[in-house]
Subunit: 386 residues, 2 copies
Amino acid sequence: MDFKQLSKQYKNELLENVVPFWLSQSQDHEFGGYFTCLDREGKVYDTDKFIWLQAREVWLFSMLYNKVEQKKEWLECARQGGEFLKEYGHDGNYNWYFSFTREGQPLIQPYNIFSYTFAAMAFAQLGLATGNDEYSAIAKHTYDRIIEKQDNPKGRYNKAVPGTRELKNFALPMIMCNLNLEMEHILGHEYVEQSGTKLINEVMNTFYRPELGLIVENVNADGSFSDTFDGRLLNPGHAIEAMWFIMDLAERMNKKDIIQKAHQITLQTLEQGWDKEHGGIFYFMDAKNHPPQQLEWDQKLWWVHLETLISLLKSYRLTGSQESLDWFEKVHQYTWTHFKDAQFPEWFGYLNRQGEVSLNLKGGKWKGCFHVPRGLYQCWKELEKF
Amino acid sequence: MDFKQLSKQYKNELLENVVPFWLSQSQDHEFGGYFTCLDREGKVYDTDKFIWLQAREVWLFSMLYNKVEQKKEWLECARQGGEFLKEYGHDGNYNWYFSFTREGQPLIQPYNIFSYTFAAMAFAQLGLATGNDEYSAIAKHTYDRIIEKQDNPKGRYNKAVPGTRELKNFALPMIMCNLNLEMEHILGHEYVEQSGTKLINEVMNTFYRPELGLIVENVNADGSFSDTFDGRLLNPGHAIEAMWFIMDLAERMNKKDIIQKAHQITLQTLEQGWDKEHGGIFYFMDAKNHPPQQLEWDQKLWWVHLETLISLLKSYRLTGSQESLDWFEKVHQYTWTHFKDAQFPEWFGYLNRQGEVSLNLKGGKWKGCFHVPRGLYQCWKELEKF
């Protein structure tokens, strides 16, 4: 495998195709922030704005400025989105709405904790890029809200009847592994190490079920397996993405056994999640092979494949495993063949099981300027190390 | 077309295949109520119970008892499910939960108005079947709750920020067209006529958009078109199902112009919703042909096709339109070829765009003892009239 050539491929795709697409097509020069509902050619088909994606684009352009090159247009793109978010994205108390109109009028209440996590991530990175302490303070205030809300993230919008079936969800501890590293300059080294030990334990000992060899999306409050739709739910892309967050954290904390375990879980999940008939990684599965509730279970999503590429390269670099490298080649092949649009910039997001494009949008409610460029960046940087 | 033969085909499938399946496989003889999560062969794969489906099965067996034959086992099946629902399905004040455990412990709060509408429908029909006034009273109490909640059906679980974008949703007025007729013996003739006039106006003049020739799922509070994801959303099966509710109501109220309009809308919707490439009717579409948010947009669902068959037969009987009959043949062909399981009882529910089985369950969280048997019954009875 020609790592140099591959590294260049990822870098070029990022800097010559994907980043220019978002820079030129997504910025709302009239009201601020970003359009993310962009069709195949990059034209805006809906003007609603979603906090997840607004925050993630602020983060991405700040990160590029901080880590790739101090380009003025990248900083300005991040800054104007940050200002829009700061002004309209929350209720005045750093409770982050889920979505707002083009003009910034709130549409959906702050029920979704990941609006908070991505806002914190965005302002922490924007603080670094600009040196403006106000942004770092917003990140810290938001982080505090997350900690307050972590035991009942949906708050009053939680529809579960208390006491019948209390489940813990995987997504928040998973995201916190990444967020703590993103915010280490604000949270402090000691906090990140203490919290990291707890988070690693939660992900690797509670949500990882040794009897399955897999991570489940939900467990009972006491940490046991729940033989219910929610308890049996597998999201291979989610589990694999978590493994590179864990590998980053374990590398930072110098925990070799955890790296080894994260590497193993990556391969086990991929073995389970790979569609042997049509290729690609399934979106949802049931741990007992019952029918999942999610009708889109067999679709192939862009972020699943990009996150998997990252985890495989990290697991190869950290363990030297040939199996990781073989899987990387296979997933790389599938991903570039199926998700890259040969005709127009940016990548497709949604394929059916057969690998045909099911929705030809380049951005929407959930796909924005995030997984494709972050994945390309991470792979470029990992490949450069070989 | 041999109507006699076809009528027999629908009747036999109902009475010899589908009804015996639910009677033998779904009843929970230990705790009461019904299992609905049944795999291809009818084995229980999950024991959670969903109020929508519990109520619909009470309704179906009561209806069969009232309209087909006074079979003791049908009545007993309906009655035991009704008792289970009465005991565990609501909070004591006829606020109906969304789901409960096998034993009847509530899982999900009463956030969903259709748990109420299907409970009202169930107890009204069970009251008729048993002559037990307690059941009819439950139906009436529940109906009153629906009317109280109709302007904000989700109540405190409504995540929309008040004042930014107030939308009205199509589903409730649509269901009320059917529920009022179901409950006419409880609500009274005068009420049904008065309410019917309002509902017909709402469906046919507010949600039907003449500029599109289609019904949309959401409109602005003032009745205007909303050029947003929600406002552009089309659900062809929903719109077509509504048209047979409207035809029933218009027939009952002797409104020939409304019948004619419902017939036209059925055909226009089918023309729009039919997949010219692979056959079958799409699940979701966007009125402006933008990408819809629903990843399952191109799947072919059982209920869409069964409800369409009903609407086409009613529209043929009431208008004599050859076009309705031609469409019926086409949809009948697709439906029986793709949804009927040649090997095991009951029908498949979820196909991919190509018409291949995507989930081979016979029941789940949303598919229960309802659309297949109701559709077969309705088609049998309509075909008998020719």
